[in-house]
């Protein structure tokens, strides 16, 4: 249990909760909500939007639009990617993407046509507030769910960004428990809390749609005890539409928001990393995804998200709703935070799961839940590990980080697999408690990506071997065929020459005969 054993006990409270191994109680520090009067500020689409053409696995995909083409908001740019605003395609070229290290990927650059874009916003809002239409829309959706899911390009807004349609496909039928994840346990991130405060009714409708679609037995909405306003708003909203959803208040322990930890807290079931929750009759959606589904049913595609601007160096922390593809720089400029661009360290995502940005000229995506500005610091260099075991006490995946770190650093990938590295959810708890300031999480990320690379390489090696074997076989066969052909040619020549020689023989015979016959003469 360790240094933070008390937290575990706190986790056990309440009759329905089970708790999970390890974890840490962190200060919520939600500056984005504390300092502003409005939970969410709507931002206008910036002049330029950059939409990277990458799929869920970060592979490049081909664009379905052409240069200088005019696109409408919601129009498909590529498979599963839609235009977040109305405008013109200015370029399709490699651009920087939001990433721990500056790298480029092929992207569609849109010049936003502000006038017609504002028109679309207005129309969408009108459609949304027309509550009588909801029932017809919902029944249409339940009849033909695929139409809506594909048109609106829904993906999870929790962080992994998994396409919602595939998740629902895999989960449909045999779902016992639907879990709506509103446990926003990482410090500084307040986007879900803000959303629940402002859009509770719409979220409730989205959840209700999910319940009816999956026909699950129970639906649990999990909210952390540190956000009372959101809890009140959601319970009122759920009551008002009479949804079959049980609101569960869970203790604020990082990383409750991680899917596996949340499932364990709510159901007591530990899902091994190589199994899917749907194998156990459970499916999880983020609360923001439920809201996005609500909008999609109303005909509005997923093209924006709430981002928390926070961090101790952010002068004007707040939550903003921004279009996908807006650059970090544009967002900071529009919110009066331009000063941090040169003075502070910018970070995408939370303090534990996020990463620092080298440049603010990168577009945000569905996974960007927060932008933080922190003072520039020099990290304490790592000391040798004394195997104290604090890390394994806080590890929510029940791993042995101290041993894993050794093997990760000495590139012993076989041993890492044995120690179950793949089960690591990279939550960063081990880094926080390590007395020797060892960068455990980074070494695990390194080892994971390296192992993936090695696996890919091995596949390539195997393919190369097969191709070589086929090549050799083909060369050998061709050689044999050639030899065979030469042989046949010889044979056929011989065969052709045979009758000839017979004829000659016969001719000679005849000649001899005639000579003989002539002799007596």
């Amino acid at each position: 249990m360790g240094m933070f054993g008390k937290e575990k006990k706190a986790c056990m409270q309440g009759p329905l909760l089970f708790g999970f191994h390890g974890g840490l109680q962190l200060q919520p520090n939600k500056r984005a909500l504390q300092n502003s009067t409005d939970p969410i500020t709507e931002l206008e689409a910036p002049h330029e939007l950059v939409i990277p053409l990458l799929d869920y696995n970060k592979n490049s995909i081909a664009p379905q639009v052409e240069l200088n083409q005019h696109v409408n908001r919601g129009q498909l740019l590529a498979a599963g990617i839609i235009a977040p605003a109305t405008g013109q395609v200015m370029a399709i070229e490699p651009r920087h993407i939001i990433h721990p290290e500056t790298i480029k990927a092929n992207a569609v650059v849109l010049e936003v046509d502000k006038a017609s874009d504002n028109q679309s916003v207005h129309m969408a809002n009108q459609a949304n507030h027309d509550s009588t239409a909801w029932d017809t829309q919902l029944s249409a959706f339940l009849n033909m769910p695929d139409n809506v899911l594909q048109q609106s390009a829904l993906y999870g807004l929790g962080g992994a960004g998994f396409p919602t349609a595939s998740k629902l496909d895999a989960a449909l039928g045999g779902i016992q428990t639907l879990i709506i994840n509103a446990a926003e346990c990482e410090p500084e991130i307040a986007c879900d809390e803000a959303l629940m405060q402002t859009e509770a009714t719409h979220i409730a409708r989205g959840i209700d749609a999910l319940v009816q679609l999956t026909q699950c037995r129970h639906c649990l909405l999990a909210i952390e005890d540190s956000m009372p306003a959101a809890i009140d708003a959601m319970s009122a909203a759920l009551k008002s539409i009479n949804a079959q959803v049980k609101l569960t208040v869970i203790p604020t322990i990082y990383p409750t928001g991680a899917e596996s930890s949340l499932i364990q807290t709510l159901t007591g079931r530990f899902i091994p990393h190589n199994e899917k929750p749907s194998d156990h009759g459970i499916v999880c959606f983020n609360v923001a995804t439920a809201y996005a589904l609500y909008q999609a049913i109303g005909g509005k595609a997923l093209d924006s998200r709430v981002v928390s601007l926070g961090g101790s160096a952010m002068p004007n922390p707040l939550n903003v709703r921004v279009r996908f593809g807006s650059s970090v720089e544009a967002i900071l400029l529009a919110t009066g935070n331009a000063s941090v661009i040169n003075t502070a360290r910018l970070r995408a995502g939370g303090p534990l799961s996020g990463f620092d940005l080298d440049t603010p000229q990168v577009p945000i995506t569905a996974q960007t839940n927060a932008l933080l500005a922190e003072p520039c610091i020099t990290e304490t260099p790592a000391q040798p590990c004394i195997r104290c075991g604090e890390c394994s006490d806080v590890c929510p995946a029940k791993l042995l980080p101290q041993q894993l770190h050794w093997y990760a650093m000495s590139d012993d990938h076989e041993k890492c697999q044995q120690l179950n590295l793949d089960a690591c959810i990279e939550c960063g708890c081990c880094d926080l408690v390590c007395p020797a300031s060892i960068k455990l999480t980074q070494s695990f990320r390194y080892a994971k990506s390296k192992a993936k690379h090695i696996a890919q390489h091995q596949q390539k090696t195997l393919d190369a071997e097969q191709r070589f074997a086929l090549h050799e076989a083909r060369v050998a066969k061709r050689k044999q065929e050639k030899a065979h052909a030469i042989e046949q040619r010889k044979q056929s020549l011989k065969a052709r020459s045979k009758p000839q020689s017979d004829q000659i023989k016969a001719a000679l015979e005849r000649a001899k005969l005639s000579a003989k016959s002539k002799k007596p003469r």
């Binding site: 040798p384 050794w406 093997y407 650093m409 000495s410 012993d412």
Partner: protein, 191 residues
């Protein structure tokens, strides 16, 4: 019965051939690079030692002593050991070619593993009965296997340690073996 148990206990722990008598150090250092080869070597040596001590007893007791040619012990024991090793090698080669390859030269070198000859000679000198001789051989080999396995695991851990360059490899291996030997001295006088 208890004396047989004592023979095994003594040879495994108290008079461990590697760590307190310093016999058989060559394969101890040579094949402790991985757990698999250490286990393979340990099992091969166990097989050889048990069989060789039984055969040595038979030869010694019914041939050398009755004909009063005990001065031929060393040479005849070596012969027996060589036969058994050859025999073992053929079996391993057939059953596990990879292990055979990994053990490499160390497999025929069991012949010259002084622990094997030492066990046979000591057993003859201590006037063991047949069962005692077999248990003595088995115990010695079990002790050898035990420390070989422990040592191979330790070395695997040392591979990741920040050992000074001058001490890398066999040097740190021998130092570790020394400390292991120091630890095994705790068993001395165990009665």
């Amino acid at each position: 019965m208890s004396e047989y148990a004592l023979i095994i206990l003594t040879t495994v722990l108290v008079n461990n051939f590697v760590l307190t008598q310093f016999l058989g150090l060559c394969p101890f250092m040579g094949v402790s690079r991985s757990l698999e080869s250490a286990l393979g070597m340990g099992l091969a040596t166990t097989f050889v030692l048990t069989l060789a001590s039984a055969l040595s007893f038979v030869i010694d007791h019914w041939l050398l002593v009755p004909f009063n040619v005990t001065y031929l012990r060393t040479i005849s024991f070596i012969l027996i050991i060589a036969i058994v090793v050859q025999y073992t090698e053929i079996v391993i080669r057939k059953r596990s070619p990879l292990l055979h390859r990994v053990l490499g030269l160390y497999l025929p070198l069991i012949t010259t593993n002084c622990a094997v000859l030492g066990v046979a000679l000591l057993s003859a000198r201590q006037h063991h009965s047949f069962l005692e001789a077999v248990l003595f051989g088995f115990g010695a080999a079990a002790g050898f296997t035990l420390v070989l396995v422990l040592f191979s695991m330790l070395r695997a851990r040392l591979n990741h340690a920040n050992v000074p360059i001058a001490f890398k490899g066999n040097a740190i291996g021998l130092i570790t073996a020394g400390i292991m030997s120091l630890a095994f001295m705790g068993f001395s006088g165990l009665t």
